[in-house]
Symmetry: D2
Subunit: 380 residues, 4 copies
């Protein structure tokens, strides 16, 4: 096995998401960290890249320099991760796809639906992989849940309920404090776009609902609130939705739920059983057959569906966490680059559907919860 | 202390709610079970009452007989519990209030808003107590939560999120099975009225939100679903609401959440902290101050607010459960009958507000989630 | 059904255990609280008894007065609960048994083995019931566990592991503070006897092990520690034991486990499965068949063993707690008094076995953990 | 930062521990997987090493070949991981230390105390690092616990209680099945040495107790049981111990606890507080100050002790698991190799102390629980 070559744009020193990508890409030894444009400050980015082991000539000052440098190499990177500020995802992803690179883009893939449709078209035309980092879907127990649904083990899905709530933006001081860009920008339309918390966390939950149910969102109704009044964008949202197959959906997301650390969970209820999972205990999947007792399915137990088994790394009940979920995305990418299809990989159409849902939710919220078509035009 | 005399209407042999009332009324030895009309089958009711220790002349065949028998006694019952089928609550409660009895009515207090307003007026005119059995609000940790909110310990409330979900009606066979009246009637408008799951469980959660936040619901938007298609009434509902004080509310209730046993929980998020409680672990209240660590408040610990301390019966961490929450309602009633005001007691206005919310939710659900005034006309 | 008449000795105002007995005896309406000698201060006891509804002539000043008063009545109490300081249990229990009363004695039944054997002999000779309040064994899920073991559902028992740890005596100030008798007396041989924490809490756990395994302790080895040096008696103990049937046992008990509130739990491991239960979540029993998934057995679910089903009072997942476990003891007593045998009732031989185990543990601890026969002489 | 070069002996295809080491060594990109002798079958090991990206000339057939190959290279590996069968650890570790390599040895470091003392002497003389993979001690929350103890935040430690129980060897068929070497060898003295479950899992718990308490075990008393009779070595053990500083210790370990998946937990009780941690939820540390409320300390929260903060990789409440604990060991090793002392690294003296404790426990168990000095002779 030759190692694949990997490059990252963004994820500089002190970034929140950078470490997760580096752990994820390197953990299995399938990618070599070969190139990067890690920081919007060119010199800091070059220096940091070299400290992380990138050769000097591939530690670039910005993404355009990286694109220019890599496109002409015979040993060009096999995969580019885009982990820059949201508003730049579209432009960078587009450019690298067009230059024939495989891309893993952080969410949100784009800032609007039109951009999303363009990426889908470009990705298709390029023949390259354009993945989007809905990494929670790569937890083994989520793959197990999806496989159980597909195998009909809980029957036709009636209802899916998912939450992504935390309280880390619950301090109003943050919002008004011009010196605290960590939080403030997320509620400023100039930087965050049309949606705050729903676009930040809610779309993870919405993607997960579609992923497990193996279905897509058709329409939705949203109630947005800025519970900290100085915020222009919502810090709390409730979205009701319907999937194409008729499943009823409920999604709550909040950033002011003080005391909730990482309250991302999902419950799927079918005609013959229910499944539950929570991201703070990701190695268990709770299953109840109708009329029967609740059972605990453990990561690594015997008899899991193959996709779940394949992504369990260490023995049963030795917990695996978020960085390994990201590593699973990279594993699937390595396989896919090597020609082995991995149908669990979230791709450009998933990124597009998320953006369509964000715009639909914003429109609905403005219209007092009117039901809005949540499908991208190209998929209607 | 002289024991008070207690009578019950309904709650016959095999009923679900009867045992909870008997445990609740008798546990503290403050009420003597003196009279009853326990069953719609007169002879069975008389026999069962006597087996439970009621004197033969006070083991009545129906409620009219009981009213006639008790109203003329000098040792008439001090409190009548109404635990009959929902559609009869109004008539019986009205009759006993008008005859000068204190009443504890099971929820829902009435089947519509007009009846609810009538009960409020009658109760006020009578000078008697008309309580409604929102017994979850009598858990010590719920009293603690309310006292903390009132004392400003979590600041102004921004958001309240509550769920009451279970999966005990998740077997579609139940719904269609003419031989299984246990479940079927709940989704039949002829028996259950305008709402199924929301009127059955949702109003407990809605009452709790108002109780802890010390506020009332102003308007709401509802999404109802009959996930089992044979059901006319909803078996799953999402209700967004706004309280008079501006608090944002979210309420999910379901009876098809297979695997959830008694998924009633509430989370209250204020400017300076958050509180969480779940009915399956009722003896703990989870508290997080903004910027601080999550703490576990235990029933019976030192320094609780007086109303919580008063209703803790046994030592810290010796669990107390649902029957003792009901017993707490009866304790408060005994105190109130003896002239000691208990402001935690849920009363007729609470029952009325619930019914107004039910009708508002039904109206909203029919209008695709339009926002509807949820206040009873008399409180607007 | 005629109500039985009940009397209590001890359990005066402010006592810890009194409320549990009153709730337990009265909750089901099967006992009338007819007599009492509630306080060692005669007048306070009489007054408190009357405030609790006892007639003036049966609110006694002390237990001898109560014995004299009750023995000659035709409507004498059917059951006497002994909830006085430990050192008086033997004398009072003996006297009431000899006078032909049924007795429920708080644990420990006696202060030594000889007294225990005497009570067993007296109880047998009297034909009366002498129960001991190992009330945890009356939780429905413990009855379920025992029934499963008896039915062979987890095979021959290899191992039982039980803990009863809390931290409520973890403040050394308590121990040395002459003004704080709440804790200090428990570690003073003059008041507590030969053992502190093991005799106080450990014997609950040891009884439970025998109860669920349907077996008795044969020999044991103990390690005692006074982790707060001013204490003469142990505040922490580990006891290894072997049951007659060969089961290996492990029991840890502590009162200095700061942060543990009520850490009483038990795990039973057999050839074909394992069971787990914890007193802070008493309504669930965790079951794992060998090679299979862990399942959650819920109080009140369909298909429980009859003894568990009978003692489930309210619907599934409506939690029932400690006071109802005590109530279950009283239910079994009422049945037994009425002639319906209840083999789950802990009786004088159980109290005797506990005391033999306490003395064996003390002897072993003094002998550096030497193995000691834990059987009472009369049962060898 | 130049990458360090890493080699592994053992951990071949299908091994349980190999993946954890590869994930751990590579995740942070600080080690390049440069050499290996991965399998006792030379060709399989060479082929597997090359599939994992090792150059052909450094994919060795056995450890002697690797030693010969690496010792003469100028780019020799900076660290050798020994993950071979237990009985070979001593010989290989000794050889590589003597040749001037840094070594990370899997536990147990040796098969007896004399070998352990020899490794300690050799490591000291060599000036090289000889670490032992007590990787649980590298969880951030364990580092936090140790730092809190050292800072006196829970006062002098009175008591430490730790368990490492699972049920994965609970199927007796495994033990007797000659075709199932997965489990059988662990209870066979010819392969496992003098102890089964205690040497396999118990020593992790014993190391953890010493690590958090910052103390060492002085003496112990053990009760061993072979609950599956065909087993020569114990599958269940209880060990009571005393630490040099006077702390009382209790340790239970089992492999027949059917239903326990990875029941490794530890509780530390001091004069002014208690701490609790469980390996299945490794990202939380539960802290209770005496007289105060239980608090949840979260990995990644603000204000952690520096050693805990340093080893938190991703944001608060994004779970990190076992592979990242191993990665933390490798991070500390990389730092230590680069000259930055990491006092949390478990080293040869820890491996020696474990072996001394194993022999002491075996001796004690044979002597019916007599107390035995657990210190290695060289540390007495």
């Amino acid at each position: 096995m030759t190692k694949l070559k990997w490059g990252m744009i963004g994820g500089g020193e002190g970034s929140q998401i950078g470490p997760a990508h580096r752990l994820g890409a390197q953990a299995d030894g399938r990618f070599e960290f070969a190139a990067g444009a890690l920081d919007h400050r060119a010199e800091e980015g070059r220096a940091y890249g070299q400290r992380l082991g990138i050769a000097a000539d591939r530690a670039y000052g910005d993404w355009t320099e990286m694109l220019a440098g890599e496109r002409n190499r015979t040993d060009r990177v096999d995969l580019v991760t885009v982990a820059t500020p949201n508003a730049t995802h579209f432009e960078i992803t587009k450019a690298f796809l067009e230059a024939g690179f495989n891309v893993l883009c952080e969410k949100p893939m784009t800032m609007d639906v039109e951009q999303g449709e363009e990426i889908v078209r470009i990705a298709k035309a390029s023949g390259k992989i354009c993945a989007v980092n809905y990494c929670y879907s790569a937890y083994p127990m989520i793959r197990q849940a999806r496989a159980m649904v597909r195998a009909g083990e809980i029957g036709k899905i009636r209802l899916v309920v998912t939450n992504f709530s935390h309280g880390h933006h619950g301090d109003a001081g943050d919002a008004g404090d011009a010196n605290n860009p960590r939080v403030r920008w997320r509620y400023d339309p100039a930087m965050a776009g049309v949606s705050g918390q729903f676009a930040d966390c809610g779309i993870h939950a919405l993607h997960m609902a579609g992923f497990i149910c193996d279905d897509t969102v058709e329409k939705l109704s949203a109630d947005f609130a800025s519970t900290i009044p100085s915020r222009v964008l919502e810090d709390d949202a409730m979205v009701n939705f319907r999937m194409t197959g008729g499943t009823v959906g409920r999604l709550w997301t909040s950033s002011v739920a003080i005391g909730r650390q990482h309250g991302f969970d999902i419950q799927v209820f079918g005609e013959t059983g229910g499944l539950r999972w929570a991201s703070e205990q990701p190695n268990q999947l709770i299953y109840t057959p109708v009329g029967g007792r609740t059972q605990i399915i453990e990561k690594g137990e015997g008899g899991l569906h193959p996709d779940a088994q394949r992504l369990s790394r260490v023995s049963i009940a030795h917990p695996e966490g978020f960085p390994l979920a990201v590593a699973n995305i990279y594993c699937d990418l390595a396989d896919a680059i090597n020609g082995e299809a991995r149908d669990g990989l979230p791709l450009a159409p998933d990124g597009l559907r998320s953006m369509a849902a964000v715009y639909a939710a914003v429109e609905s919220a403005k219209a007092d919860g009117a039901w809005v078509d949540a499908r991208p035009p190209m998929f209607r």
